[in-house]
Symmetry: C2
Subunit: 325 residues, 2 copies
């Protein structure tokens, strides 16, 4: 019988789930609205039912469940205070799921899930020390050291998006309430803000001059930069500089073999990789120079969240909420 | 028979060594010049002989050896390219020692040894996630996550002294050749530089106005600050601010339970702890506020290096260069 692990990715609006084989292939997948039924208990009930049906349809044998969710706590198995989910408070995700399944269940946040996915199924196979950066609306991160996820004392490690770029209380306002967080610069939202600032402060011609400000997207900036648009290129240079310097700093902390970039902005290829790599190298302590690979994630965007979540159950045996038999 | 672990601390001029019991008591200790005999082989020969004699004298049973040395590589057991030791190149420290002892031998750098010492014998007993900062001539660090030392892909992790405080290529020149490294501000050397800058740029009265610049020490600045000297207090405030902001950043990476300060500058007590804690708290992401303890090391300065080194052998069984029977 085909043995599979279920991967569940809980997002603010939709929840994706699927069955993943030991090679990282998603054999079956589906999605549902996260707000289904209104209460958290209804959500879990419906999710469990859907996974049960998927298993019945395919005849696969379930070996474990990995769940990626915002503010997913590794130690408690609870989702605690996630601002973008429809429910409030401490949500006993793992305990509720264990009412429906007698397999190991692991919960973590989505960036950690992506990092584990990269190690188990992606470009970090065989690596023991690497950093995963997800460049989406914000900047998420997962860190693996000595083959283990860095979890932290309260399951809140690896918030690189909130490393302060400025030490003087200056910088862009962040959703977290502080100023100067890295994700206000290095993210899809950040580069958009940079582009708008450049358009406002410069008289340089630009393909984006005629686009309404709230329609400018990171993809549009990338497309303009590829056509040689000076201001768009400058936006990438600025983004790569701020990201590169902070990656140089994280290298001084973790001494990773590689840093992976994942998510929307990472798809702009050389535009983001070349600039970031240049500034990272320039700012590295000499003992690290030339030794850290900056790589694109090998998890395809399609299914990456499910595969990442599934990998949590594959790998983190120490923290399973149920003994593997 | 009393079972002991030998701790060896190799420094630029002197090497300390001693026998440590399972409670962290140094039962016997001694030192010798690091340059003894001229060659690295002579040094190891002499060190081994001294430890053998110490064992013969006391009748204790040796269970392992832990060695702390600048640029000590955990994985290879070599000391590689340490600029302040009398020998050059790759020095096979562990292999050479294994010619003399049939016990597990672990090598690491001194800051990692201090971190392990804190966990095994000091204030971090029972903690699984903490950061150790040593404030001496420079700023050294050791990081423990999930109960394990963060070693890094090339055994060069936890160089927090070389995190860049400025992202714009500005800041004080560091011995590493770059500008703006944290240790140029937060260290005994750093606060001295700050004090001198303040004396030069201000007309404020100060107890240190009549001290020749190259005689000013961090202890003198602390003493003046304790007497209410405004500029000395300002020097501590500035040091605490730069250190506090970077500790807030490292909290975003590691989510530690505590941060320990060790070394000369940490002995200035409230002067450094209160300012650093204030600025760290001010700059913490809200989810961490109030949750990270800033504590003085519980390893006494006397013997800390030996105890720290010995703890390496106690704890890091994964990386021992010899199986524990």
């Amino acid at each position: 019988m085909v043995k599979v692990v279920a991967g569940v990715d809980i997002g603010g609006t939709g929840t994706k789930f699927g069955l993943v084989d030991p090679n990282g292939e998603v054999l079956s997948e589906s999605k549902m609205p996260t707000a289904v039924g209104g209460t958290f208990e209804c959500f879990v009930e419906k999710l469990a039912e859907e996974i049960q049906m998927m298993l019945a349809d395919t005849g696969f044998e379930l070996e474990g469940i990995g769940i990626g969710a915002p503010s997913g706590n590794y130690y408690t198995g609870n989702i605690s205070g996630a601002s973008n989910l429809p429910w409030k408070g401490d949500l006993p995700m793992v305990d509720e799921m264990l009412k429906h399944f007698e397999v190991p269940i692991v919960l973590s946040n989505d960036a950690n899930a992506t990092a584990m996915g990269e190690m188990v199924f992606g470009g970090a196979k065989g690596m023991r020390d690497f950093v995963m950066i997800t460049l989406g609306t914000g900047l998420g991160s997962g860190i693996v050291s000595g083959g283990q996820l860095i979890i932290g004392s309260q399951s809140m490690a690896a918030e690189l998006g909130h490393v302060l770029v400025h030490s003087d209380g200056k910088g862009r306002a962040c959703n977290c309430g502080r100023k100067g967080c890295l994700e206000t610069y290095a993210s899809a939202t950040g580069i958009k803000k940079t582009m708008i600032e450049l358009l406002e402060s410069s008289r340089e011609e630009s393909l984006l001059r005629n686009v309404p400000i709230n329609e400018i997207s990171s993809r549009m900036i990338a497309s303009a930069a590829q056509k040689g648009d000076k201001l768009a290129l400058e936006a990438f240079d600025y983004t790569g500089r701020l990201l590169g310097v902070q990656l140089a700093n994280i290298v001084s902390v973790m001494n990773p073999e590689a840093i992976f970039l994942f998510g929307g902005l990472s798809l702009s290829g050389d535009l983001i990789f070349d600039t970031t790599r240049k500034y990272m190298e320039q700012n590295l302590l000499s003992i690290y120079k030339g030794s850290v690979k900056l790589l694109p994630s090998q998890l395809g965007a399609q299914g990456a969240a499910i595969v990442g979540a599934a990998s949590l159950a594959h790998q983190q045996k120490d923290y399973l909420h149920f003994e593997i038999s």
